[in-house]
């Protein structure tokens, strides 16, 4: 399948193009934050404390007089950064574990899968809270923790795909021709397995953004780094919620929803496009 037609089919997918559009907007927002944000993130307007939206502050202000819109624009940086970096760690570890377990099999597989099951079963958010509480709340720690807790799903997907391709005749034919393990992995296993990883990656980013927001909301992670979760943390902690200050509480949450949706949609669309079901199915009559 040429890359051209894959792209075309992706863009033809409604979920895919919506997801991609969201991602493009988000990335622009993060990159251009200094340009598009009306104020510096931490710039305080002492005349406007907890003000509802106005011409001066389009989304109002918080309890110290910071502009919510600016906070949200700057906050996209941390949310996306954590999402991408944590996922990078997760996919790297997950793919390596999955391929090794699936291809080598036997005891190695059994041991690696027990470890994977373990991490899959352990509630990641709870473990992250505990680890962060013990290790300290730096951004790097949060990224590493989320990354190192998110690889199991990738590992499982990669392993089961590796198992399928490992026993394909074309792999044995390659062995018969004299190919070594490294060659087979590089040439035959990975090119077939990676399309599954792409879709999974997108979902992992969504989950990482999610987890980061949850952690910061609970006060785990550096409370001084501006992120959507952090804005919500202060909104909740300052009592703005029960006071009904909707402008403070709604926009950051909405951003998380939109970002997670964007990556999730992209992931589902990638899965549909890259890993199409061979059979059309569908038997019901329309005639």
């Amino acid at each position: 399948m040429s890359d051209h037609s894959t792209l075309k089919r992706y863009l033809g997918n409604r979920k895919g193009s919506l997801g991609l559009a969201i991602l493009v907007v988000l990335v622009f927002m993060a990159v251009l934050a200094p340009v598009i944000s009306p104020y510096k993130a931490t710039q305080i307007d002492p005349t406007a404390i907890l003000q509802p939206p106005s011409a001066k502050h389009l989304l109002g202000t918080n309890e110290v007089g910071e502009d919510i819109l600016s906070l949200i624009i700057w906050g996209s940086r941390i949310s996306l950064l954590v999402g991408f970096l944590a996922t990078f760690v997760a996919v790297l570890v997950g793919t390596a574990v999955g391929v090794v377990a699936g291809y080598i099999g036997g005891f190695t597989d059994e041991a690696l899968m027990r470890i994977t099951d373990f991490f899959l079963v352990i509630p990641a958010v709870v473990l992250a809270i505990v680890v962060a509480a013990v290790l300290g709340n730096t951004l790097l720690n949060v990224i590493l923790i989320i990354g190192l807790l998110s690889w199991p799903s990738t590992a499982r997907v990669v392993r089961s795909a590796t198992l399928v391709y490992k026993q394909m005749p074309f792999v044995e034919a390659s062995k018969c021709a004299g190919a070594g393990t490294a060659y087979i992995l590089r040439r035959h296993i990975l090119p077939n397995v990676l399309p599954l990883v792409y879709a999974n990656t997108s979902l992992t980013i969504a989950n990482s953004i999610f987890t980061q927001a949850a952690l910061v909301f609970l006060g785990v992670g550096d409370i001084n780094d501006i992120s959507w979760g952090q804005i919500l943390h202060f909104a909740y902690a300052s009592g703005a919620i029960t006071a009904g200050d909707y402008w403070y509480a709604i926009p950051p949450g909405l951003m998380i929803v939109v970002a997670v949706l964007g990556f999730a949609l992209t992931g589902y669309a990638l899965d549909e496009v890259l890993n199409p079901k061979l059979k059309a199915g569908v038997v019901f009559e329309s005639a």
């Binding site: 099951d117 949850a214 609970l218 949706l261 199915g281 038997v283």
Partner: protein, 321 residues
């Protein structure tokens, strides 16, 4: 089936053992671990330090410390809470009960509604109904638990009369069990809605995918060719098969349900394990944190094992092998 259950039980035991190892590493071995912090307390007397060392076996080799740790866990000797100055188990178990009151009905509701919606969505795929169900499921999946809680709190405050925090009204003495129960249920309302909604979306998506996959199977065409209606086909043939992968995936995602529960409890100050974890972090109450982590992990492992049993019951290929 016996072989399958034995295997899964063994896996669960191994996983729990791994949890113990991880807990030991986290709380005892990592730099800056709580036990070390404990000793840095300048107010401790020489005698107290000696007593603590003996309690944790710090003067013994590492493997003995580990064995001591395991023995203590199984004896129910989970240490003393710094904050409550009471045994951790005494602090934990009431909280665990409260968590179960919230999580169990929410999860059951979420599974029932989610799976039901997934079936409809998959059956009517690419129709308006499907679009509606799928997009709401996706949005529910994308909503952060705590934010949904926040939205509901704001809504409830505006409406008034719906409790947004705690499990029972404070300072009220209940005269009858019905009154008590009624108060509890009113407090349960918002947290339960939150937890149900945020977990429901993913179950619906999983079931939809599963139903669509089943619909491409040859046996479905063959069954349809017998001359049955679509609804019977879905009921008798598609759903029983589609449930199998769904049960496995739901089992795996029990961890996320628990995470959702922690956040829900925190937002609504529901006095469960989640809130306890949140409070313990702020209070640096590491013994409680360690205990809470163990209890959460154990619950997830047990839930997984139950899901495995359900799977074995549903799939004759496991049941009769």
């Amino acid at each position: 089936m016996g072989r399958y259950i034995a295997k899964r039980a063994l896996t669960s035991i191994i996983t729990f053992f791994a949890v113990l190892v991880l807990t030991f590493i986290l709380f005892r071995l990592l730099p800056g671990n709580p036990v070390l912090l404990l000793f840095r307390n300048p107010q401790l007397t020489q005698q107290q330090i000696a007593q603590l060392s003996a309690q944790f076996g710090l003067n013994r080799p590492l493997y003995e410390q580990f064995i001591l740790f395991i023995v203590n866990v199984f004896r129910g000797n989970w240490g003393l809470s710094f904050y409550y100055r009471a045994p951790v188990t005494q602090v934990l178990f009431p909280a665990l009960l409260n968590s179960i009151i919230l999580i169990l009905p929410s999860t059951i509701l979420a599974i029932l509604i989610g799976v039901g919606l997934g079936v409809i969505s998959g059956w009517k795929r690419n129709t308006l109904t499907d679009m509606a169900v799928l997009s709401s499921s996706l949005v529910l999946y994308a909503i952060p638990t705590f934010w949904l809680g926040i939205l509901l709190i704001m809504l409830a405050v505006r409406i008034g009369g719906i409790p947004v925090s705690g499990m029972l009204s404070i300072g009220v003495s209940f005269t009858s069990p019905t009154q008590y129960l009624g108060n509890l249920l009113r407090h349960l309302l918002l947290p339960m809605i939150t937890l149900t909604l945020v977990t429901l979306g993913q179950f619906s998506i999983i079931m939809r995918t599963s139903v669509i996959n089943e619909l491409t199977e040859d046996y479905v065409v063959a069954a349809y060719a017998k001359g049955m209606s679509e609804s019977r086909l879905i009921r008798k043939h598609v759903v029983p098969n589609a449930l199998l992968p769904t049960v496995s995936i739901i089992a795996i995602s029990i961890g996320t349900v628990v995470a959702g529960a922690v956040l829900t409890e925190t937002v609504f100050s529901w006095p469960g394990v989640g809130t306890l974890i949140y409070d313990s972090i702020a209070r640096r109450d590491y013994p409680v944190l360690q205990g809470a982590f163990l209890i959460v992990a154990l619950s997830v492992i047990i839930s997984n094992f139950i899901a495995d049993l359900v799977y074995a019951y549903l799939d004759p290929r496991v049941k009769y092998s």
